[in-house]
Structures are given as structure tokens and as C-alpha cells.
């Protein structure tokens, strides 16, 4: 399997293809961010979270307004929670999980189904490494959960909520996955890392 690190402006495909982290010019597709080109797939390694309907995100309440709440979602613009649809009240600084209901071309982002998050730790990683943290069929994140006995919720926006169990180790593992997201054999590496740490600590 050949992997190639690509920087912005490099030719990815000599035909037009709409994908994240790329642009089309004169019928050809070029990278717009750093990424990995592997077996005809381009995986961005950098980039801010771009909200998409259906995404589950971890947000922070920034501002209370007459009609609802403004929520920071780690995107270039805040999300809005309409208070008419809510049964719970939030305070500024509250952490929550919510679903992206819609986002339009002028950056209006509507959130629904919020749930308050209590007593836990939140870490932020680049949103582009979220798929690696989850792993194929949840394999990576389930492994972290099983070994650390922590509850880990991965927001699509690159915010990860962790509580209970060995939360510190879980956080460290998640950061490691994000940092090394572009390397191969990552699942094995993380497994070894978690087991080594657990053995060390149980001694």
C-alpha cells in the first residue's frame, strides 16, 4: 500500500472530484490542505471542523439569548439552540452533546437534541483525525474504552468527552491517535501503549 504525504496545490486526480480538502481547477483535482494520498483516496490531515447535518458534536454554551443559546462547536461560527424546543435550561459554560440539524451557505448552524454533559474532561483534537480515533467499525475507540474502563464520547467536531475509569490514560491515548493519525499500524501501536501503561500502573 503506497502512502504519500501531499501538500496544498499538488495534483491529486486528473479529473474533477469534489472532496473535502481539495479543489477543482481546469477539470483537475488539487489538494488544498496537507493530507495523505493512498490507494486513490485523499485523507486531509489538517483542517477545521466543517459542520454537516446529522453530526453529533460536543459544544460549549457561550451566550444566552431571548430565543435560545449560542453554542461554540469548534467551527468558524457558532451553533444556535432554539429554546422553544428545550425542556432543560443551560448556563453559560455548560458542556453538551447535540446533533447538527442544518447548516446553510451563510454559516447559520442549527443544533437540536442537546444533552448536558456532567463532570468529565474534554479534549480537543483536529476534526480530521476523528475517523481514526473512532476506527473501522468503532474498533479503535472500543479498544480505548475497554482497556481504560472510561466512558468516551467522540464529537465529530474534534471534541472528546471522557469520564470515569482511567480518564487520564484514555485522554493520553486519544491525543496519541490524533498526533499519529497519518501513520500505519496505529491500532497495534495504541494497543501496546495502553497495555504497557496499564501493566505499569497495576504494579
Amino acid at each position: 500500500m503506497e502512502k504519500k504525504i501531499v501538500t496544498p496545490g499538488e495534483l491529486l486526480f486528473d479529473f474533477p472530484k469534489r472532496l473535502s480538502g481539495a479543489y477543482v481547477e481546469n477539470g483537475k483535482t488539487y489538494s488544498s490542505v496537507v493530507g495523505v494520498l493512498s490507494e486513490g483516496f485523499f485523507i486531509p490531515l489538517r483542517g477545521r471542523y466543517a459542520p454537516f447535518p446529522g453530526d453529533l458534536i460536543v459544544g460549549v454554551v457561550m451566550e444566552e439569548r431571548f430565543s435560545g443559546y449560542l453554542v461554540d462547536v469548534n467551527a468558524p461560527f457558532p451553533g444556535v439552540l432554539d429554546s422553544r424546543d428545550l425542556r432543560v435550561e443551560f448556563r453559560i459554560g455548560d458542556l453538551l452533546v447535540a446533533r447538527v440539524d442544518s447548516v446553510d451557505e451563510v454559516s447559520n448552524l442549527v443544533l437540536v437534541d442537546p444533552k448536558k454533559l456532567l463532570k468529565g474532561e474534554v479534549i480537543e483534537v483536529g476534526a480530521v483525525s476523528v475517523p481514526r480515533i473512532i476506527g473501522r467499525n468503532n474498533s479503535m475507540i472500543d479498544m480505548v474504552r475497554n482497556i481504560t474502563k472510561s466512558e468516551v464520547f467522540v464529537g465529530k467536531n474534534g471534541r472528546i468527552f471522557i469520564k470515569n475509569g482511567n480518564a487520564a490514560l484514555a485522554a493520553e491515548a486519544v491525543r496519541k491517535i490524533a498526533d499519529e493519525a497519518h501513520t500505519s499500524g496505529l491500532t497495534e501501536k495504541i494497543k501496546n501503549f495502553l497495555e504497557a501503561r496499564t501493566n505499569e500502573q497495576s504494579k
Binding site: 504525504i5 501538500t7 496544498p8 496545490g9 499538488e10 480538502g21 479543489y23 481547477e25 488539487y30 488544498s32 490542505v33 496537507v34 486531509p44 490531515l45 489538517r46 483542517g47 477545521r48 466543517a50 468558524p76 461560527f77 457558532p78 451557505e105 451563510v106 454559516s107 483536529g126 480530521v128 497519518h182
Partner: protein, 238 residues
């Protein structure tokens, strides 16, 4: 500068610092040098030392400065008060740096895929810590790397150099002494992906042939700068 005391700047085809006419100075680029900024880069270009930091895309304040079609690009180029060999300067923007900031804004408005982020701002801040001629191309080179480090979608890198006329001959990448006595200055930057000209300024007196040759020399040098920019990003991915 008093032209009467002008030293000889090219002797046997060699310049004061030993370079040939078409040589760049030594250029070092490191990406991701700052913690808080979304992206950053440090460029050491001859004796120039320049640091660039990028934030965004983020919300625009005040709100009426926002554009419903695209991200607003703010570019700030400043020389630190201690950056030059001469006297302590006032620091902060002056007429020269305001014009350069405007040029930087134009370069990156072209390069950034701004239409992906309506109603937001991208803030680029470049500080010249130490200056030795050719700071504007070095500053834009650093800013370009910082943007890529931040993961802001761009069409390519902006790379380039300034070509000047010294002792009647065209020379690439003038240092401070050469710049002081230079008979012309042509800073040019190119988009690495399509060779389009992003920055072009000129003063001096050049014939059409010299003018065209200056742009060609800048283009050759821009390829070398671009390779260093790519390396600085790839190094962080190892």
C-alpha cells in the same frame, strides 16, 4: 544612502557575501513554532528573522465587516522596533508597512479558498524580528506556510523573491547593503500550483528585456523557496 560612497558590490561576478548573481541566501523554514495560533511558521532568510501566525476561520468582529460570500482576509505586516541595524524605530505600522500589509492581503485573498467560509475572518499576523533586505517576500513566504500549518484550504504556496539591479547587473535576493544601493527592486511571488503571479511590484529604471529577465529570475528562485516550504510542512508529518 549617499551614492557617492557606494562600495563596489560585485567583484569578479561575486557579491559582498560571496554569492553568485543568481544565488539565494540560505533560507530556513520551520512550521508550527507557536502554541496558541492555529498555524505558524518561522523563516530565517539570510539575516532576516520573521515569524508568522494565523487564526481562523473565525467569527468577524465587528460583524458589519463580514462578507456573506466569503471569508475576510486580514493581513498585518509589522517590523519590530528593534528589527533594523539603524536606530530604534517607533514599532507598529507606518506607511510602508501599511502598503505591504495590503499587498499581503491581496496575495492570500487569491490563494485561500475564501468562498468556503462565508461570514468569517482569517487573520494573518507577521512580525519582522530582524531585517536584512527582502523582508516582504520572506514575510509572505512565512505566512503561506503558517496558513498550511493551520489547515486553512489554499490553492498552493506563495513563494518568490526580489530581484534587483546592482552595479548595473541583475542579482537575485538582495541583502540590505545591495538593497540600499540597488538601482531597481522587483519583488515577485508565484502560486506554486499554477505559476500565476500573486505579487508584483517594481521600482527603478529597467528596459523591457531587464524587466522580463527579472520576472524569470524570480520564477526560478520561487521554485527553490517552494521546495523548502513543502519540506517544512512534511517534516511535521514524519
Amino acid at each position: 544612502m549617499n551614492k557617492a560612497n557606494k562600495p563596489e558590490l560585485i567583484i569578479d561576478g561575486r557579491r559582498t557575501d560571496g554569492r553568485n548573481l543568481e544565488d539565494l541566501r540560505s533560507v530556513k523554514i520551520e512550521s508550527g513554532v507557536l502554541d496558541n495560533a492555529d498555524g505558524s511558521a518561522m523563516v530565517e532568510w539570510g539575516n532576516n528573522k520573521i515569524i508568522a501566525g494565523v487564526y481562523g476561520p473565525r467569527e468577524v468582529f465587528p460583524k458589519h465587516f463580514s462578507d456573506p460570500y466569503k471569508a475576510v482576509v486580514n493581513f498585518r505586516y509589522v517590523m519590530c522596533s528593534f528589527s533594523s541595524l539603524e536606530e530604534h524605530s517607533r514599532g507598529g505600522p507606518n506607511r510602508r508597512s501599511i502598503e505591504i500589509s495590503k499587498m499581503g492581503k491581496h496575495v492570500f485573498e487569491n490563494l485561500i479558498l475564501t468562498e468556503q467560509f462565508p461570514n468569517t475572518a482569517i487573520d494573518i499576523d507577521v512580525e519582522v524580528l530582524q531585517s536584512d533586505g527582502g523582508t516582504r517576500v520572506a514575510a509572505f513566504t512565512a505566512a503561506s506556510v503558517a496558513l498550511v500549518d493551520a489547515g486553512i484550504p489554499v490553492k498552493g504556496f506563495a513563494g518568490g523573491v526580489s530581484v534587483g539591479k546592482v552595479d548595473g547587473r541583475l542579482a537575485v535576493d538582495l541583502n540590505k547593503i545591495e538593497d540600499n544601493y540597488g538601482e531597481s527592486d522587483v519583488p515577485v511571488m508565484f502560486n506554486s500550483s499554477n505559476s500565476e503571479i500573486l505579487l508584483l511590484q517594481m521600482d527603478g529604471l529597467l528596459t523591457r528585456e531587464e524587466y522580463e529577465r527579472s520576472i524569470d529570475l524570480c520564477y526560478e528562485a520561487s521554485k527553490k523557496v517552494n521546495a523548502l516550504q513543502v519540506d517544512s510542512i512534511k517534516k511535521k508529518m514524519e
